[in-house]
Symmetry: C2
Subunit: 101 residues, 2 copies
DNA sequence: TAGGTAATTAGGTAATTTCCTAAATTTGTA
DNA sequence: TACAAATTTAGGAAATTACCTAATTACCTA
């Protein structure tokens, strides 16, 4: 777990928002954008970009940054890349702060 | 607790190092720089700057940033400003990540 | 295979962060 | 009062981050 990389990737308001939106996609994305695979796969780049009100390339780069830090997990399926939270890493992060930092 | 402000103040290698050094000053600062008040007060700016290998103004500013985020607590005593960790806030941060984020 | 949609990569400008030196302030002491 | 030590504030150069548009790549389907 690369603590500094993780903290850097969380130190931006939009990226932090994305993380919270992905905690409960049903509550934060329009129903028609979600499928029954959303819980497994996550949400695709353009839907997240729309929600963030930012360009697709910018958000794509943010998501890549967060995946590199392992905060998010990416799944490519056809033309789409879906991103979801890595709950295990977030628990590891919390534990690291609690007991190690 | 201002999550984004806290995460920003932790997203720098030197600031993160300072936080870990202050967890155990005895292990990270020369004995002659410490007093029996160190556990209560913390460590002063110039000692931390020396350990970090950076200028006093830079480190003073880092410490101020971390105090503003309430990660550190400052005590002015005479000409010195001592900084120590705010353990309560770090526990709050860990819990927030674990249960809220 | 051509055209369309989704995503990524490339390249750039603006804003922010990093970290310095010099100057000013605060406090203790001769 | 005057000088010294610790810190903070001010101001600035260099590096990084934030975000955009344009171009390219990946993949699907007619």
């Amino acid at each position: 777990m690369e603590l500094l990389e993780i903290l850097k990737s969380l130190s931006n308001e939009t990226r932090l928002n994305i993380l919270t939106w992905l905690k409960d996609p049903l509550a934060h994305f329009p129903e028609e954008e979600l499928s029954d695979e959303t819980p497994q796969l996550g949400v695709c780049v353009s839907d997240i970009a729309k929600k963030a009100g930012m360009s697709v390339p910018t958000v794509s780069d943010y998501l890549k940054t967060m995946s590199a830090a392992k905060i998010l997990l990416a799944t490519r399926k056809g033309q789409w890349t879906y991103y979801k939270r890595n709950e295990q890493l977030l628990q590891d992060l919390a534990n690291h702060i609690k007991y190690k930092l």
